[in-house]
């Protein structure tokens, strides 16, 4: 929570600025009547919905399908549950316009209508933008484009230039939690196309490795410790913008 701003940060100026940088894809591929068992939903999770946890998200989606009268595919067994699989769990508090989720659906649906049909039954801040047949498995998702805003109580001189220089280093060691506990990792090759702009607050955009290793926005901030402490923001927010495969093509 920052300043005396309203606690619903989603209503704050910072978010408005972020929202304007989002772009929606207008790909109508896959339109038409399909009978599918598995389809992929692209959706955004913004404003208040950013606080919905990973677990509660699946429940929200499941309920939206029930409200829409569309039956989901259920697992067999003693305690059946619907087939819902979310790519790359998003940490609570972070927004995204490129979330992906696979669901198993029993019904015949008009693919182009599905996003609108389901979105109207979702809590505010969750919005499905596209439904399509998945082309790749989630484990082939390699890069995530993120944008963010870094806030400084007092903005350091030439901050963008200094940040850029910092991240142009050939070796950027940060402490990172691994399976074996804390360890250091060089994130240089896992953070690409990093850019900074702005004067009163700093806009950041970058592509970060989504898996193996998973780089989080916090890892970028971690690179601003020690000698670079002066560059560390007092507060930062991030948003996921797009998902890519290993060839930097949009992941589908």
């Amino acid at each position: 929570m920052q300043g005396s701003r309203h606690p619903i940060a989603g209503k704050g100026a910072a978010i408005a600025a972020l929202a304007s940088s989002q772009y929606l894809r207008c790909n109508n591929r896959g339109a038409g009547i399909d009978i599918l068992t598995k389809l992929r939903l692209r959706y955004s999770k913004t404003d208040n919905a950013k606080y919905i946890s990973h677990l509660d998200l699946a429940a929200a989606m499941r309920r939206a399908f029930i409200r829409a009268g569309l039956e989901l595919e259920y697992s067999k067994g003693f305690n059946p549950h619907p087939y819902i699989s979310v790519a790359m769990p998003l940490s609570v508090g972070m927004q995204s316009v490129c979330e992906l989720m696979d669901v198993g659906l029993k019904a015949q649906v008009e693919m182009a209508d599905l996003p609108g049909q389901i979105t109207k039954y979702l809590p505010s801040g969750l919005e499905i933008s596209e439904a399509y047949e998945p082309l790749r498995k989630f484990n082939e998702l390699k890069w995530l484009e993120i944008s963010g805003i870094l806030y400084y109580d007092t903005v350091p001189q030439d901050i963008c230039q200094k940040l850029k220089t910092r991240f142009c280093a050939s070796n950027i060691e940060v402490l990172k939690k691994t399976k074996r506990g804390m360890g250091t990792i060089d994130i240089a090759e896992y953070v690409r196309d990093i850019e900074f702009s702005g004067t009163s607050e700093v806009y950041i955009s970058a592509k970060i490795s989504a898996q193996e290793p998973t780089i989080k926005p916090e890892n970028i901030l971690d690179a601003l410790g020690g000698d670079f402490q002066v560059l560390a923001p007092d507060y930062a927010v991030f948003k996921r913008i797009e998902a890519f495969d290993s060839d930097m093509l949009i992941f589908r």
Binding site: S4, K11, R63, I66, Y74, P80, V92
Partner: protein
């Protein structure tokens, strides 16, 4: 926001929350629930009242809950006022703050929420530009401890009071132009665009009129005087206020509001489900039970309406569970057609049916089997007392045989967990009655050994005791509570009598029960103690991790209150009690007769076996 636990509690935005255009609104209501979001959103009353307020044109009702301590710390640090979840606007921008108060241990949360809202605690310190503060819920049946803080109480069912009250309120708006220097909005709490000064309410005139509506109690219009010994000498109404104040009830549940389209929280609740209210009231007349007495007589919804409402609500919410709510579900006359109707729809859609509040006595094999079709949930029964003698005293019409027969069926049917609730400290309780709890629990265990089909899974029998709290408007309203040391002696006695590892014994802290007993039968003097406790940091007292007994002892001391006067004193039948000004429906004569019958060990039949003329049906 990132710093607090479960931030989703504080942001709203859930499916089916109600957003209205502020320009078309002349009354903004904040429905204030003095406990966490999760507890509040599990409360059917909140969902009903939210729907009823919002059905009225020009009224927008939002929700707000007691922030958890971490959120409170952040709010105070960052100077953020308590806000409505729907709009995010500070509560000072609202016209009415409507509290729903169901238990005494939430009183400090009421004060804390007022303070966090930036609203003065005491009615006398709030001018015509501060929100009107009203309250309802079962605690309104003895509202005296909160009487200095709340402008107006709604006693009984709120459904039919809201519309006339809001209509009346509109007659007493006053424009800010007349009071150019009126303190309107605390600038620290304004989050965005500048608001024009808020209109005020001519409160004194409004309250005097409201006090004439049935079911409305305006504490400032009653003068309460005390004798030297601390008891009440007189309750004198002023300006034509009614005495006694008759509680309101909804006479026909079939035509009353049911929230079919209800908010679906985006954070998981303990009980995330559609709740159907089968009936209000209770035919039983257990002598310790306040809910059973203040909601008499029984008013049922017809089973076909319930099935319809259930299906619609399940479709609208997408929930996968529906629970049947009432004080004693097995007393619902059409329980079988109801269950059949629901199961027919639910089963193919993987929706569970859950039946809380079942009595162990007439819980039939058939009912159990029907529910079992979908899922087996744990069983919970409340024999309340360990011996037949004491169960007769409290008029709990449950025999040992009935309980064991039910358990036999349950164990045979594959259930392997059972919870049994008892109270210690009921009037006339002896050590023998307490040993009886252990005996009964072992009998249940033996019953499992005899009837369980698959013993390899083991059995979990949980026995819980709490310290009896005598409540207003019950036949035991005159009774003393037992001391905390006596309660602990009884706990130790019971503990030493529990001999099996398959039985887990849990006892509830007597300290919370003691504070509850003081507040439950408190008078106006307790307002000072509640405020003192709040100032000393008491919050969320119903949560054992937050409750601090020392804080309360210090608060009673600071306020010059002897808590034992309220908890341990045997009252005379003729004493004017703080809640004497409320007419609960059941006559005083009936309560006295019931108390005498308790001491004589005489049972009173339930309403269906034979009416005992309690007065509630008049």
């Amino acid at each position: 926001m990132q710093k607090v636990q479960k931030p989703a509690r504080y942001v709203g935005g859930e499916y089916k929350q109600i957003i209205k255009n502020k320009n078309e609104i002349d009354i903004r209501v904040a429905y204030c629930f003095p406990d966490t979001y999760e507890i509040g959103m599990s409360n059917l009353g909140l969902r009903i009242m939210y729907g009823i307020f919002n059905e009225i044109d020009g009224v927008w009702c939002e929700r707000t809950f007691a922030p958890w301590t971490d959120m409170e710390d952040e709010m105070r640090k960052e100077n953020i006022a308590l806000f409505g979840l729907e709009s995010g606007d500070a509560l000072t921008e609202f016209d009415v703050l409507a509290f729903s108060i169901g238990y005494e241990l939430s009183y400090t949360n009421v004060l804390n929420m007022l303070d966090l809202a930036g609203v003065a605690l005491r009615s006398t310190d709030r001018d015509d530009y501060a929100p009107l503060v009203i309250a309802g819920g079962s605690s309104a049946f003895n509202s005296e401890p909160l009487s200095e803080f709340i402008d107006l109480f709604v006693i009984g069912d709120g459904e039919e009071v809201v519309a006339p009250l809001m209509a009346l309120l509109r007659n007493y708006f006053t424009t800010p132009a007349l009071h150019a220097d009126a303190p309107h909005i605390n600038s620290a709490t304004v989050c965005s665009d500048f608001k024009s000064p808020k209109k005020g309410i001519l409160k004194k005139a409004f309250l005097a009129q409201a006090a004439k509506l049935p079911g409305i109690y305006v504490p400032s219009l009653y003068c309460v005087t005390h004798n030297d010994d601390g008891t009440i000498s007189e309750i004198a109404p002023q300006s034509g206020a009614q005495l006694p104040v008759k509680r309101r009830i909804v006479s026909d549940l079939n035509s009353s509001f049911f929230p079919v389209d209800t908010i679906v929280p985006s954070v998981g609740l303990v009980h995330d489900r559609v709740v159907l209210e089968l009936f209000r009231g209770c035919i039983r007349g257990c002598r310790f039970c306040q809910a059973g007495h203040i909601t008499r007589p029984v008013r049922a919804r017809s089973h076909d309406i319930l099935v319809k409402q259930g299906i619609e609500a399940l479709k609208s919410s997408g929930y996968d569970e529906v629970a049947l709510l009432s004080l004693s579900t097995s007393d619902y006359e059409d329980i079988f057609p109801l269950c059949d109707g629901l199961i027919e729809w639910c089963e193919p859609r993987r929706v569970n049916l859950s039946l809380p509040s079942l009595r162990a006595d007439n819980f039939s094999v058939e009912l159990m089997e029907r529910v079992q079709k979908v899922r087996k949930s744990g069983l919970t029964f409340a024999p309340e007392a360990g011996s037949q003698r004491l169960r007769d005293v409290i008029n709990k019409n449950l025999t040992e045989k009935e309980l064991l027969d039910t358990c036999a069926v349950a164990f045979e049917g594959g259930w392997n967990g059972i919870k049994l609730y008892f109270m210690l400290g009921l009037p006339t309780e002896t050590d023998e009655d307490i040993i009886g709890i252990a005996k009964l629990s072992h009998d249940v265990l033996n019953c499992w050994k005899q009837y369980a089909k698959n013993k390899s899974r083991g059995v979990r029998i949980t026995v819980s005791t709490s310290c009896f709290v005598p409540k207003p408007h019950t036949p035991f309203q005159w009774e003393p509570q037992i001391s905390m040391s006596e309660y602990m002696r009884r706990v130790d006695l019971l503990r030493s009598a529990m001999k099996s590892k398959a039985i887990t014994y849990k006892w509830h802290s007597p300290e919370q029960s003691f504070v509850e007993a003081v507040l439950a039968r408190g008078d106006r003097n307790l307002g000072k103690a509640i405020e003192a406790a709040w100032r000393l940091g008491a919050r969320h007292d119903s949560w054992s991790e937050c409750f601090s007994f020392n804080t309360w002892l210090e608060a009673f001391h600071d306020a010059g209150i002897d808590p034992e006067f309220y908890a341990f004193r045997q009252r005379d039948y003729d004493e004017i009690l703080p809640w004497s000004l409320v007419e609960s429906g059941v006559t005083l004569a009936h309560l006295k007769n019931e108390c005498k019958a308790a001491y004589a060990g005489i049972k009173t039949p339930d309403c269906r076996e034979g009416c005992s003329n309690c007065g509630a049906c008049e």
